[in-house]
């Protein structure tokens, strides 16, 4: 009796898997229009990055709502399957679940570069598309993946952007010739921090600035005294730094405690752009730079009326969901831009909604403008080369864009920093 029951159970399980597979493969065919188009979203919804992760997920949901209200993708409603990935291991498992069990064709992700690489490892094998709007590690688009598309800039380019700006604009403000300018790099050691720092170092050498120190650390560090004391000996004028939020705060605190704050602190995304950064260190943040993608652009940047409306609808709905935030976070804006652009502008151009059709549409579609303020123009590696990083600065607890000129909404303040040490 027990044996029969077990056989029955196995049969039922087997049957349900087969049915599941059938449904999945049926999606690509010329079935009725009511068949939903399944997409996945993988973000850290628990763990240390959960705050930004849940904001990204909310942004993707808003994008899907807007697209569905306008008739969906090629007449099919978009259906979201969400997944929580606090770390790369979970990202691998969840990507597998979305691909194998849920039959999604496109995945949006993933906030952290490590997670993005883990997901790409899974999606690439199964011919599923990953649209990345958070991880900026170079490796993601330098590894030969065919179905990974990144809307935002990559780490190396971002590091370089901060250095170029420093040489051209900051050095004159300090009255120091670029070749005499002493610069240092401190970065957290994941693929994200390393690729940004590599890009910065390359540019520093290219422009002939004076690199006096480069150090890296694990982002779970609890005491930065040793690091800061070492830095204090090198006496840099400008410090380039790549961090997550805790270590960014700890770095600024420790620099202050040892009276070792350099004249200019140039952060590169993540930690120094996080709303918590200025929220925690308060007025000391005034004048600290944070290179990142464009954010909270004034609506008149968007010439296209329809895009203007979409951006303002997104911001309004987002603020309703997160009433504590005075600004939409950069991560959420990017997550929205990635998912909205892909669903609204790329997929309609795809001849077939499979990996090949989507890839062709992603690479051949060129856009002058996305909701992030830059265009869409992918290289064969899947990297959006129209993406650019802005130079932003904290001013009165808000991120103000100071470069490039066409996007700027304020002038540079506090160079050198009033809290700079001796």
């Amino acid at each position: 009796m027990k044996k029969n029951l077990a056989i029955l159970l196995v049969l039922v399980l087997l049957l349900s898997t087969l049915v599941g597979c059938g449904g999945g493969s049926g999606n690509g065919g010329d079935s009725e229009t009511a068949d939903p188009f399944k997409v996945g979203a993988i973000y850290p919804l628990s763990g240390a990055n959960a705050l930004l992760g849940s904001q990204c997920l909310a942004a993707v949901k808003i994008a899907i709502d807007i697209v569905n209200a306008n008739g969906g993708v090629q007449g099919r409603q978009v259906q979201l399957v969400e997944a929580d990935a606090p770390d790369p291991t979970a990202a691998t498992t969840e990507a597998g679940r979305l691909v194998d069990q849920q039959g999604v064709q496109v995945i949006f992700g993933s906030l952290a570069s490590g997670n993005a690489l883990a997901i790409a490892g899974v999606t690439e094998k199964s011919g599923v598309t990953l649209v990345e709007s958070g991880g900026i590690a170079d490796a993601l688009t330098d590894s030969g993946f065919k179905n990974v598309f990144r809307i935002l800039d990559k780490g190396g380019l971002r590091g370089a952007a901060g250095v170029s700006y420093t040489a051209e604009y900051v050095a004159p403000m300090l009255n120091i010739a670029p070749k005499d300018l002493k610069v240092a790099i401190i970065h957290e050691e994941s693929s994200y921090g390393t690729s940004v720092a590599d890009g910065a170092e390359k540019k520093i050498k290219e422009l002939g600035l004076n690199l006096v120190a480069r150090e890296h650390y694990n982002s779970t560090i609890t005491d930065m005294s040793a690091l800061v004391l070492k830095l204090k000996e090198a006496k840099p004028d400008v410090l380039f730094t790549v961090n997550y939020i805790n270590d960014a705060i700890l770095l600024v605190d420790t620099l202050k405690q040892y009276d070792a704050m350099p004249k200019v602190l140039m952060g590169c995304g993540a930690g120094t752009t996080d709303p918590n950064f200025a929220g925690t260190i308060g007025a000391d943040s005034d004048g600290i730079f944070c290179t990142d993608m464009p954010t909270n652009l004034p609506l008149d940047v968007f010439a296209d009326e329809a895009m203007k409306n979409v951006v303002s609808e997104f911001r309004e709905r987002f603020r309703k969901e997160f009433p504590d935030m005075n600004n939409v976070s950069v991560a959420a804006e990017a997550a929205f831009a990635g998912s909205y652009t892909f669903l609204n502008n790329i997929l309609p151009n795809a001849k077939t909604l499979d990996a090949e059709g989507i890839r062709e549409a992603a690479l051949t579609t060129k856009l002058d403008m996305t909701t992030l303020g830059f265009g869409w123009d992918l290289g064969d590696d899947g990297q959006n080369y129209a993406a650019s990083a802005n130079i932003n600065q904290w001013q009165g607890g808000k991120v103000v864009t100071v470069y490039p000129d066409k996007l700027k909404n304020g002038e540079v303040i506090n160079v050198p920093l009033p809290i700079a040490g001796q």
């Binding site: 628990s46 763990g47 240390a48 990055n49 959960a50 705050l51 992760g53 849940s54 050691e189 150090e215 890296h216 650390y217 694990n218 779970t220 560090i221 609890t222 005491d223 930065m224 005294s225 040793a226 690091l227 004391l229 070492k230 204090k232 000996e233 939020i245 805790n246 705060i249 700890l250 605190d253 202050k256 405690q257 040892y258 009276d259 918590n276 925690t280 308060g282």
Partner: protein, 286 residues
Amino acid sequence: MEQVLQVLISGILSGGIYALASVGLALIFGVVGLVNFAHGEYLMLAMYIAYWIYNFSGLDPYQSLIINLAVMAVIGYITFKVIMERVLDSDHSIQMLLTLALSMVLQNLALMFWKADYRNIRIDMTNDTMNLGFLTFNTPRVLAFLIAIGASVLLYLYLQKTFTGAAMRAISQNGKAAQLMGINIKRTYGLAFVIGTTLVGLAGLLISPIYPAYPTVGASFSTLAFIVVVLGGLSSVPGAIFGGLVIGVVESLAGYFAGPAYQQAAYFLLFILVLVFKPNGLFGRS
């Protein structure tokens, strides 16, 4: 030379906190025989308690010390009564799985109720420094160190000089014999567990002005506490104090001379060396 001395001192200051975060673990292991993987989560809870008290009443962590420790003691007692007491006679693997599960539950409850936001306590003192000649000390770190070492030494004296302390030592040496001598084992276990969680709570409270609270903050200190405790000889309280200081100094010196990336590598290396040459830890009994 000045810099090296400064680095050394900052290492000792961190070491004090590591020591305090670890003595509770050593005590619970020594007396109750329980490897508590949820140890770090009590640190997290204390940090949140300090944060919420600060947020609602404006009392800084030092002012709310007594309330915080009382709450931690109650939480420790409830955990012991409701959960730990049931598995005291079970296999070690069951106890470990249970504490591991408890740690996950606590982390995720924190995430559910308080979200993943980083909760910082910024008191006026957070960035205050004291100067002694050319040396600079961050005031909250000095306070944390002094209180931590004070509390650890008090615990040591308690174990050495009082009757219940002697009972705890007796149990850690030979539980059966201690029971035959009329020691109430369950009560002593409970007391040790409560003291252990209160002490790690104190550590959490002391770092709350310099480090943010978030649901997984316990995890990074938990790993450290385990290394410290193994280094010191598992159940030895003086061993844990010494181990904490050693880890703090090694971490700091490695950060200065080799670079911050090698801080963890350095103390893990030390950890392996100690295990190879002194498998019972620096203060362990064979």
